[in-house]
């Protein structure tokens, strides 16, 4: 707090801003207190205000689909895509389609992965990549994992290509960028189920639909990173290209794109991670493989075996993450001139030899070709026993906690939230907006939540807001101290970040069952599941924020004799706060995603309606609900980024 006062922006402007905010806040308070005297149209959105958005969207979709015949185009496109998917499916798990060569023996794939790992980053990555596939084969998950990968190996390149081209287009054309940016914002905050419904309508179900939703979900970060990379290319580099007489295409291909290489590779890394995040959700519309199996096992309460699949998904994610990062860091190797073909392609030759060797071996020993479920190992017994033990141990605590939270916290909070007149909520949000970013932010808050009110889902939206707010609050109580603890040393930070990575890629559906077993079907279970997910970004960004504080400032604090606690509270935390707030923002986003998934526990919020929309393939309703959730996310996103941006400037961090 001490640092902020020194160079705050023009004080009188801040003062008027805060005064307006205070007035708005007082107005909100009056509306809430005077609820009984309020006319009905200020308590709940009146009927004339609620617009039939869902019907409009459905009519528009029907027009585009049937009258413009778009469905024939998308179905034709889907058939083409299916052909490609059939090829990979044949190679990886022997689906009976052209070219009818597969399945490739698991040993060959494992050795290929190990060689790629070695080529990118030496022995350790080689061992990790190879052993990941050995684990999959030995646990008897080969078929499912290959079904999953057969979709991802198609979806990821499509996504990268699309992202790259759209990124380049956005960089070239200011107009396109202006249209694209809000679309990307919405796409990244729209719950997955919302865009799965139109995909079912236009594409159908099955692996092709799985591939398409995966592409839709993973393309935004690629576009953003491409754009960011291209914008960062310095004028001098381009100048040099011009001087060498490069054409516009050559300039792009040989100068700009290679210079933006790091950002583009980070984008590719993001694409891969998003693809794996979609594995389970995409199985709702027919993507085969690990996700589908996971849902079946959970349905039969087989927690141990679903955890095994969860581990596989984490391992695949970590492996692909490490490989793509190693690829990003790897600088091109320059061999001496005149080196023979064999020296230049040493690894390639070695790989080819190993492939032939293992292929032959697998013909002789069937176990090296395929491991059936009967021969496979399973950890499910110890895992189940461990889960039972954890649940039995926690049970006395959770029974009490459940009672306490429901009776004293959650029910009063929810009733309060539903009691509030909608006009008071809107006024309050405007007050917050005005306090943080002035008139513009206030209007943005009003517009987003005003649209939610006009959608006719106000009560359910308020339940979502209540769940998310409370969950993020609890997540902060847990994540923040953990982050401070984790930031104390390099070693701890590494461990904490590894745990964060694992929790983030571990399929969230698996949490749902133990959480119900602990708390029952109620809001406590929902909050519990959401908190597990929402705490992750808080821990991550707290650690990164605290560790990113310039060493010189900490040294200065030490020199002036500050104790460790003083340094933490007066120097490190204020400086790290902008980064931590990004974590809070992420935490809200994660909660919004998870609260929709928590509908599978049983909720009365937007997620429950979304589930209904999905099972009745109601595109309009699904999109309206999805947009309502997206607008909540975008409101928080806007407020946090305005606040953090100003703060950064004030602290001189930019």
């Amino acid at each position: 707090m001490t640092i902020t006062a020194t160079n705050a922006p023009a004080p009188e402007r801040t003062e008027t801003r805060l005064r307006v905010a205070q007035i708005l806040f007082a107005a909100a308070l009056c509306l809430a207190i005077g609820r009984f005297a309020l006319p009905d149209f200020l308590v709940r959105p009146p009927e004339w205000l609620i617009l039939p958005f869902a019907d409009w969207i459905n009519a528009a979709f029907a027009f585009v689909r049937d009258d413009l015949g778009l469905i024939h185009v998308t179905r034709a496109f889907a058939d083409g895509l299916e052909w490609v998917l059939d090829v990979t499916a044949n190679l990886l798990y022997g689906k009976n389609r052209w070219p009818r060569l597969g399945p490739i023996p698991w040993t060959v794939i494992a050795i290929t992965a190990a060689m790629i790992g070695y080529a990118l980053n030496g022995w350790r990555l080689a061992a990790f990549a190879g052993l990941t596939f050995v684990w999959i084969a030995v646990m008897g998950q080969w078929q499912w994992a290959m079904e999953t990968l057969s979709v991802i190996v198609v979806a990821a390149p499509v996504s990268v290509f699309l992202g790259l081209s759209m990124g380049i287009l956005a960089w070239k054309s200011e107009g396109f960028r202006k249209i694209l940016n809000p679309l990307l914002n919405i796409a990244q905050s729209l719950p997955h189920f919302a865009y799965m419904i139109p995909v079912v309508v236009f594409i159908g179900v099955g692996p092709k639909a799985g591939a398409i939703v995966t592409v839709i979900f993973s393309v935004p970060p690629m576009i953003r990173m491409t754009l960011l990379g291209l914008q960062k290319v310095s004028a001098e580099v381009v100048e040099a290209g011009h001087m060498a007489g490069a054409t516009r295409w050559q300039l792009l291909r040989y100068v700009r794109l290679p210079t933006a290489r790091t950002e583009i590779l980070v984008g590719i890394n993001q694409v891969i991670m998003q693809c794996l995040a979609m594995v389970v959700l995409a199985s709702f519309i027919g993507m085969p493989g690990l996700g589908q199996k996971l849902l079946q096992l959970l349905q039969a309460l087989k927690i141990g075996r679903s955890i095994e699949i969860g581990i596989t998904i984490v391992l695949l994610a970590v492996m692909l993450d490490r490989c793509s990062k190693a690829w990003a860091m790897k600088q091109p190797v320059h061999l001496e001139k005149g080196a023979s073909w064999l020296t230049r392609h040493k690894l390639l030759v070695l790989w080819a030899a190993l492939v032939v060797l293992f292929w032959l071996l697998s013909l002789a020993f069937p176990l090296l070709h395929e491991i059936g479920r009967r021969d496979a190992l399973s950890l499910s017994e110890p895992l189940d026993a461990m889960m039972d033990w954890i649940i039995a141990t926690l049970d006395p605590v959770t029974q009490w906690l459940r009672w306490f939270l429901i009776v004293w916290v959650l029910v009063p909070l929810r009733d309060g939230m539903l009691w509030l007149p909608f006009s008071a909520v809107l006024m309050f949000l405007m007050a917050v907006g005005w306090a943080i970013g002035g008139k513009r932010s206030a209007l943005i808050c009003l517009a987003y939540f005003g649209l939610i009110a006009m959608s006719g889902w106000w009560d359910r939206a308020m339940i979502t807001v209540y769940t998310v707010t409370f969950s993020v609050f609890i997540a902060t109580l847990i994540g923040f101290p953990l982050g401070i603890w984790g930031s104390r040393s390099e070693g701890r930070a590494k461990v904490a970040l590894l745990v964060c990575d694992t929790l983030q890629t571990f399929p969230s559906f698996i949490y749902l069952i133990p959480v119900i077993m602990l708390f029952g079907v109620n809001d406590v279970a929902v909050v519990g599941a959401v908190v597990l997910f929402a705490a992750v970004p808080l821990v991550r960004y707290t650690i990164e924020g605290l560790r990113g504080v310039p060493a010189s400032l900490i040294e200065a604090a030490d020199m002036s004799g500050a104790t460790r606690n003083q340094t933490l509270w007066n120097v490190r935390l204020p400086l790290a706060l902008p980064t931590i707030m990004v974590g809070v923002n992420q935490s809200v986003m994660f909660s919004l995603f998870m609260v929709i998934i928590a509908a599978f526990i049983g909720t009365q919020d937007l997620g429950q309606e979304m589930q209904r929309a999905l099972s009745s393939s109601d595109v309009g309703k699904g999109l309206v609900l999805g947009l309502a959730v997206a607008f909540m996310g975008l409101t928080v996103d806007h407020l946090v980024s305005v606040w953090a941006g100003r703060r950064r400037k004030a602290l001189g961090l930019d």
């Binding site: 099955g206 589908q292 479920r373 749902l512 119900i516 999905l614 009745s616």
Partner: protein, 316 residues
């Protein structure tokens, strides 16, 4: 490739002329699978029967409500478990739109209703009568329902009208809707540890019967009209004052084009009919014996050859 499509085109043409001798198309028959084990195993059993007849078969996982729309469009070929209670409405809407039709019932009957695990009966000995359940309502109370008992219903989109029944019979129960079938089982699993009484929505045939023995609550018997006509049933002023039918249908459904495209398989499908114990056995092979669905199906076919060979050969 080209000659093949030509061949199958002639096959289709022939099929329309003489059904009995026609060849089945070589295109794969697409069988949808859902997220409960008996349906998956049954799909594989039938798929393997079709394969033994020389057809090619593929399985796609789909949502169990949305599947009727896919069958209508011919995206998938058939559905083996159409439950009266759970999917009746979705199926009938699709039939009304056209493209899908009824291929007959299984011998199995289905029942969906309020259900409790046996340990609940120890705490409340008057069960299974619904009046007794109502007397013990407090035993089923949870923090969120206060003094009233909690009934854990299925997801709202299953449209079970439990709330209406509670009102019509003025029971001291609150209906809480779980979000998925897994959530229902997780509650029973958790309740088993301390033998806490619970009453949930359940159905038969179902694998849960093997894990947790239990019984259905006996409500006033279902009579025609009790769901639409207030006068029918014990409460003269309200509808839904009765239980669900104790013998609901379990149907097979198929895409309209199936009979022409795969006449042989279609004829077999018409003859296929499973019983409750057979369905329970299929579920058990996966849920208790931990077999993979395809292996379970193979094992079932091996053990029950006498059951299914007549389906393939026909009665003639």
């Amino acid at each position: 490739m080209r000659s093949k499509t030509l061949l199958s085109a002639t096959a289709v043409a022939l099929a329309t002329v003489s059904m009995a001798q026609a060849q089945d198309s070589s295109d794969p028959i697409l069988i949808p699978t859902h997220n409960w084990s008996s349906q998956i195993v049954m799909s594989h059993v039938v798929g393997q029967i079709f394969e033994s007849m020389g057809n090619s078969v593929e399985y796609v996982s789909t949502d169990s409500q949305a599947v009727y729309e896919s069958i209508r469009l011919g995206d998938v070929t058939l559905e083996l478990e159409v439950w009266e209670g759970a999917f009746g409405p979705a199926f009938e809407t699709a039939v009304a739109k056209g493209g899908i039709h009824d291929v007959g019932d299984h011998d199995a009957v289905t029942r969906e209703d309020w259900w409790y695990p046996l340990w609940a009966k120890e705490a409340c000995p008057g069960l299974p009568a619904w009046e007794a359940l109502n007397e013990c309502a407090e035993l089923f109370a949870t923090p969120e329902t206060g003094d009233k008992g909690r009934f854990l219903g299925g997801p709202v989109d299953w449209l079970k009208h439990d709330q209406e029944r509670v009102d019509a019979l003025s029971m001291d129960f609150v209906v809480v809707n779980a979000g998925s079938a897994s959530a229902l089982w997780a509650e029973v699993g958790a309740a088993e540890r301390d033998k806490r009484p619970v009453v949930i929505f359940n159905w038969t045939p179902n694998f849960v019967e093997a894990l947790y023995p239990g019984e259905f609550v006996e409500f006033p018997e279902y009579v025609e009209g009790c769901k639409d006509d207030p006068a029918v049933g014990p409460n003269p002023d309200m509808t839904y004052d009765c239980g669900n039918p104790a013998n609901g249908y379990l149907k097979k459904a198929a895409w309209d084009g199936m009979a022409d495209k795969w006449p042989g398989a279609y004829e077999t499908l018409k003859r296929i009919s499973f019983t409750n114990p057979q369905i329970a056995e299929m579920a058990k092979l996966v849920d208790i014996d931990e077999l993979e669905p395809e292996d379970a199906a193979a094992e079932w076919l091996e053990n029950n050859e006498a059951v299914w060979t007549p389906w393939v050969e026909g009665d003639a």
